[in-house]
Subunit: 295 residues, 2 copies
């Protein structure tokens, strides 16, 4: 019999991740703010819990998959929170993308109860969550990581479940991922804006660039979105805006200057301001196209 | 007997490109400002010409591979320039990376003599030039492109010799290439600055990111340079500075805003200002590391 897992946060990502744990044979205890996803998981075989504390009472492993830092703080350390009821030797795995500084603070609170916390943010989007092929970037101690690897492997590609370092290192790596993508997105958007404005065939430019040093998954996948104008998410601009807010906060907190990331964050602000919050974040391209006077 | 080719500009790139034309069996007429490279090519079987005009008198195909826009203007339209002596039906192939606006002007001057000009800037660096595996982005008319393809194939990878569009489109595509790379470079540099400053293992971050959406040749190759601190060029920062100057000029001339490219250009300015002109352009990373107080 596999261990019981508690799962808190049944949004676009959490729902399919939780289902993959059930498929793998784990008894699942779930909690979420909205009733619909809970009912959906109960129909798939999960047990509903009335609070985060109840989840912690019933499960030795508690996974959180929540939108933002305050959500994780509330669920772990708020009233009827996970920390108030953690079992001895329990493991908390926070798979949300949140502040690395808050993560190390929360990990210390969890440790004070005798339990252990891993930060394990993911990339790969809804498709990766559904297919169980997420990349998972883990921070925390090595022994706990090793023990939790089979659990994480129910949700991610085993080759891409990597321990980056101690507590918070997973969140730092996730920020690095979003920062690297942001620069690439801005570069591709500006290149396409110039090509379009000068009447040069953008599809041929993309094809030529994919054969050389400018080759990237961003040019390939998001470049294709910009070509066709199909900005169905994918990954919503509003969530990318949140990730870049965390990136810029981490830059300030750690004494790092990220001028390009700051610029990309402003482009995302412009996208969201013009009604693009629910578009795929590749729609940053439309901001640059608009600045060049092209639709 | 293959056609005689004139080759003007025997720098780091031009020298190996010219040698590959000789290897392919083309009689070669060469001209360059400095004597050394001319002697080297003559030793390999080329004929030396006294001026660009003399090259044009001796060869029905004239290739230029020069550092910057004014160099190409001088060689083509200056005193004893190529245009003064072009044969009927000659083809000028400018493989330099220069201003697209100047390119279309020069192409019109060449056309007024009854000859044809292609713009055919390359990417792939010195290694690509030596191996004959350059990517070549071509602007100009389709028939001339088709006729010149076997000549270009002596210097580039046939799969990556692409006609992008009419005159100037090759230069626009080259700018797009440098712009896309610039964004990716800035993103990777900032990600690595954050990881290093927070004590997170950058090699593991790079490896994790290569498995996901942040994957790019820049992260792979230039990320490796940043890890090891080996900034032997490769592609010199001074040349990238020139390419970004052309990019920003093209943005202004065509009514396009490129804020990220402007930022990258400033980072390159900082690199060059601190003595990095002859380092590989991946050394942009050191500017961000310096801004974060790390060496």
């Amino acid at each position: 019999m596999l261990e019981t897992i508690g799962f808190i946060g049944l949004g676009v990502m959490g729902r399919p991740m939780a289902k993959n744990l059930i498929k793998a044979g784990h008894p699942l205890v779930v909690h979420s703010r909205s009733r619909g996803p809970v009912d959906e998981l109960v129909a798939s075989g999960a047990t509903a819990a009335g609070s985060p504390a109840e989840v912690a009472r019933l499960a030795p492993i508690v996974i959180t998959m929540l939108p933002d830092t305050p959500d994780v703080e509330l669920v772990l350390t708020g009233p009827h929170g996970v920390v108030s009821a953690l079992r001895p030797n329990a493991v908390v795995i926070d798979m949300s993308s949140i502040s690395p500084a808050a993560t190390t603070r929360l990990a210390a609170v969890v440790a004070s109860t005798g339990a252990t916390m891993l930060d394990a943010p993911v990339s790969g989007g809804e498709i990766g969550a559904v297919n169980g092929s997420l990349s998972i970037m883990v921070g925390g101690d090595e022994a706990t990581f090793a023990r939790m690897q089979p659990v994480l492997a129910c949700m991610g590609n085993p080759e891409r479940i990597v321990r980056i370092g101690g507590s918070g290192a997973g969140q730092i790596c996730k920020i690095c991922n979003q920062v690297a993508i942001g620069g690439a997105l801005a570069g591709v958007s500006e290149a396409f804006a110039l090509a379009r404005k000068t009447g040069v065939d953008v599809a041929r430019v993309r094809q030529a660039l994919l054969g050389g040093f400018a080759a990237s998954r961003v040019l390939d996948v998001h470049g294709e979105r910009m070509l066709t104008g199909n900005y169905a998410p994918g990954f919503r601009a509003a969530l990318y805006q949140k990730d870049l807010r965390i990136a810029n906060e981490a830059a300030a907190a750690n004494g790092v200057a990220m001028p390009a990331t700051a610029l990309v964050a402003q482009l995302v602000n412009a996208l969201v301001a013009s009604g693009g919050a629910d578009l795929d974040y590749a729609a940053i391209g439309t901001v640059l196209f608009g600045m060049a006077g092209i639709r």
